[in-house]
Symmetry: C2
Subunit: 144 residues, 2 copies
């Protein structure tokens, strides 16, 4: 928790209790919770925190490069504190989101961008069934 405080300060982000707590909640579980889910988890240990504050904190954390947004089809934005180069896998059944490591560090070679485009970011999302849902087990709802 002291580390989190340090991390925020180092980024130039004013380390408030709420921001530290929201970031802490994100680091605690390796899933990709929605703002609402983050709010509920944060609230359990900090009852006075509001949803709007969670959104504010997430926006600040994103701006300072500590979390990334993950957007799925027609679903609420999810947040990911893993800033290493990786892809995402979205299970169509349980809607959990998993990190997928990449072997080579961003092989941009497979795209033919017409000249003039300046690329600053790249996002890869895979869809399908995760091991639990593919094995015929019942659909597991995210979070808990």
């Amino acid at each position: 928790m002291k580390r989190i405080h340090q991390t925020l300060a180092t980024c130039g982000l004013r380390p408030t209790r709420q921001r530290e707590h929201v970031y802490h909640v994100l680091l605690q579980q390796r899933d990709h919770p929605t703002a609402e889910e983050i709010f509920l988890r944060a609230k359990s240990e900090m009852p006075t925190i509001s949803l709007a504050t969670v959104y504010n904190c997430l926006e600040a954390l994103e701006e300072f490069g500590l979390v990334k947004q993950v957007n799925m089809q027609r679903a609420a934005t999810r947040y990911c504190p893993n800033m290493h180069d990786h892809h995402h896998f979205h299970c169509d059944a349980c809607e959990n989101v998993f990190d997928v490591p990449v072997s080579s560090p961003t092989p941009k070679s497979d795209v033919k961008l017409p000249s003039g485009f300046q690329v600053s970011g790249r996002e890869v999302t895979l869809r399908g069934l995760c091991p639990d849902c593919g094995n015929g087990k019942r659909k597991v709802r995210r979070n808990g």
Copy 2:
């Protein structure tokens, strides 16, 4: 337009005037309009069509594999009638979305998926500046 009728029928999708028109509107311009934009364009030639119907039509077209959704960060879903394997480029300035051809047909080789995952789809989105916005020209708002 007769072709569109045929296409819908061939897919097993009941070809109604509204669906044909929505699909027609999507094919007419090579951009990636939002539902609202599609609604406005459709309305100009079919004044009685409603936004809900546009959503219904888009949902049906998507279900039958004629269009794909393209989701950007915190923005309205956009729709793309190009069903060939391709990526998307999202301009951070003007927010236009461009299709990006891929050289090799889906090189899945660069991801290390843990066993048990069944992949059914893959979506790649690049972000940055398009030629117009990168060249210092003023930001061009999408559509018109």
